[in-house]
């Protein structure tokens, strides 16, 4: 019995491996296209081995116009918004995690409700509103909106991480006369370093890839982040240089993939909706 079970298990493992590899191959094809084309001097739209391996595509796009300015804009936008998000989320999570209040639960439920709203839907009114208050086409306006749209999830995530830090350590500091701000900055945040980095990286990655928000709120080409400027390859340059488009995609995507790998283990299985499932 045991033997048949284990041999059955082995054959089942082989079947599972084969199935997964088939899915993996299907998922990998579009990814293979971008990598191969970026190195191909005659890149087309189909996956094929490069005609001649070349770094020419990268050479062609690594100029300040095509790559450096948009990436810098992305960095300013996403960096600024992430900073704002993390600071506000850490401050907001502290009383929610530390003190009992009748308002905590309604507040947290509202936040949870807001995390899953389709933000895309409000971009048209946001545009109209930004025109009224003169925030349209400004970096700071876009940063504020980015931060606000990411905040509900960031607060929720931050609060869950903060709940994991035992309260006793702060109580000692309080008796020594530390204010709650001091104990937050000196004790709680250092203890939940990994949690803070997850919130930071996750917010950054979400914004880095976001297209619609800067597409709507920024108008001047000089201010466009990479997510919008990538459209240029299709628009004004006439014939589409697919090799260069692929090279740009690689350059633009690499930072977020690396950042994700950095925090992947902490997000891991327990990520499951950022602890939303845990309540």
């Amino acid at each position: 019995m045991a033997l048949t079970l284990s041999s059955r298990r082995r054959s089942r493992r082989l079947a599972a491996d084969a199935g997964l590899l088939a899915f993996a191959a299907a998922f990998a094809l579009p990814l293979a296209w971008v990598v191969l084309s970026s190195l191909d001097s005659h890149a087309g739209l189909g996956v094929k081995a490069p005609d001649g391996l070349t770094l020419g595509n990268f050479d062609a796009i690594l100029t300040s116009d095509i790559t450096f300015t948009p990436l810098l804009n992305s960095l300013i936008l996403c960096g600024g918004a992430t900073g704002l998000t993390v600071v506000c989320a850490a401050l907001a999570a502290y009383p929610l995690s530390r003190f009992r209040s009748r308002l905590n639960r309604p507040f947290l439920l509202t936040i949870l409700f807001a995390t899953s709203l389709p933000i895309t839907a409000i971009m048209v009114p946001v545009y109209a509103l930004f025109v009224q208050v003169d925030l349209i086409d400004t970096m700071q306006g876009t940063i504020f909106f980015f931060a606000a749209s990411q905040l509900p999830f960031a607060i929720w995530l931050m609060k869950n991480f903060m709940d994991g830090v035992p309260k006793e350590l702060e109580e000692a500091a309080w008796t020594d006369g530390a204010s709650s701000l001091q104990s937050l900055v000196r004790i709680v945040l250092p203890l939940m370093g990994p949690g803070v980095s997850v919130v930071t990286v996750f917010s950054f990655v979400m914004m880095w890839g976001n297209f619609f928000v800067p597409f709507m709120l920024l108008l001047t080409p000089d201010q466009m982040p990479a997510s919008v400027s990538i459209n240029e390859f299709f628009g004004n340059r006439g014939m589409v240089a697919y090799g260069q488009l692929a090279a740009f995609s690689v350059v633009y995507s690499t930072p977020v993939i690396l950042l994700y790998v950095l925090i992947a283990r902490r997000l891991g299985g327990g990520f499951a909706l950022g602890g939303a499932v845990k309540g």
């Binding site: 003190f99 509202t110 009114p125 905040l151 997510s227 299985g269």
Partner: protein, 316 residues
């Protein structure tokens, strides 16, 4: 949608930024003053949320009832339900509703959800290197910026693209997918991009099923499908519920992916509600009408969001 604003202003009233300076949490004082001080750190987040999230939502509700246009910003007047009446008589709008439904059902309900579950359960039996490789590839598709994902799948589905090359190689008929079946192409694109999330959710859920339960069933001679149907699925039904809700919400708000691949075309054959909203507001300069569509989208989203909260609550 209106629920967000009042609830958010509730605590907001108690947390005005001009409170007393921070003091140790256990400082003596009247309870009200103490809770004000304690709530003070919430205020920066609250101000941001009220100004940039709740504000636009309230504004959305307002301009959905006006005839605000892009040209001649200054004059707009209250038109009541006119925008909504127009919408439900507008064939393009109904077309967008239908396409959104198709897009959501194919890509989120069927595609991401089922494929995510299939991948997660295969992974439990597969060997570690295969598991790591597949997980890595599927998650990379998820982490890629939206626009990049759009381009990759544009290249995949184009006439000269990879899919047709494979079909040719198999001697199957090829066609211009983005032209003949655009909604199917963008749905597959969304599956490609979004399955990783379901895979992660279901991997976590399956890991929580005690090994003994499935082993016992296996010894009793229950086959794979029966175990799946009678044991696994009932045990992870909460995860299925929350995952379906989140997938649907995610899919309702997809814009960039479709925009890059088809611009909603050809004609309006892949124009889902977000793209329709954009077209009405900016190409046709009718912000009021576009916002009315946005409000409907937001209402549907809030409904799903509320169901999602209920699902969570039964377990919290």
């Amino acid at each position: 949608m209106t629920t967000a604003a009042p609830q958010a202003t509730g605590p907001g009233a108690a947390k005005s930024p001009s409170g007393p300076p921070p003091s140790p949490p256990d400082a003596p004082g009247v309870p009200l003053r103490r809770s004000l001080v304690r709530a003070l750190p919430v205020s920066p987040a609250l101000v941001l949320l009220l100004l940039f999230l709740a504000g636009p939502i309230v504004y959305c509700v307002w301009i959905a009832f006006t005839d605000l246009q892009l040209t001649g910003q200054a004059e707009s007047s209250f038109v009541g339900l006119e925008n909504f009446r127009t919408a439900f008589q507008d064939e393009e709008f109904l077309n967008a509703v239908w396409l959104t439904l198709v897009f959501t059902v194919i890509s989120s309900l069927i595609g991401q959800n089922t494929l995510g579950l299939a991948l997660a359960s295969l992974m439990r039996r597969a060997s570690k290197p295969v598991r790591t490789l597949t997980g890595g590839i599927v998650i990379t598709a998820w982490v890629l910026p939206e626009v990049v994902a759009g381009f990759l799948l544009y290249a995949f589905f184009r006439r000269e693209g990879t899919l047709n090359a494979i079909l040719d190689w198999l001697h199957l008929p090829s066609q211009n997918w983005l032209f003949t079946l655009p909604i199917l192409a963008v749905s597959f694109a969304n599956v490609w991009r979004g399955t990783a999330f379901s895979m992660l959710v279901y991997s976590a859920a399956l890991n929580e099923i005690p090994q003994e339960v499935t082993e016992a069933a296996e010894v009793d001679g229950a086959g794979g499908w029966r175990r799946m149907w009678h044991i696994t699925l009932p045990m992870i039904r909460r995860s299925i519920g929350t995952n379906l809700m989140l997938n649907t919400l995610q899919t309702l708000s997809v814009f960039g992916l479709i925009w890059v691949m088809t611009r909603g075309g050809p004609g309006d054959k892949s124009q889902t509600l977000p793209l329709f909203m954009y077209e009405q507001a900016f190409q046709n300069s009718m912000i009021g009408y576009g916002t009315a569509v946005a409000l409907l989208l937001l209402l549907v989203g809030s409904l799903f969001s509320l169901i999602y909260l209920r699902l969570l609550r039964t377990e919290v």
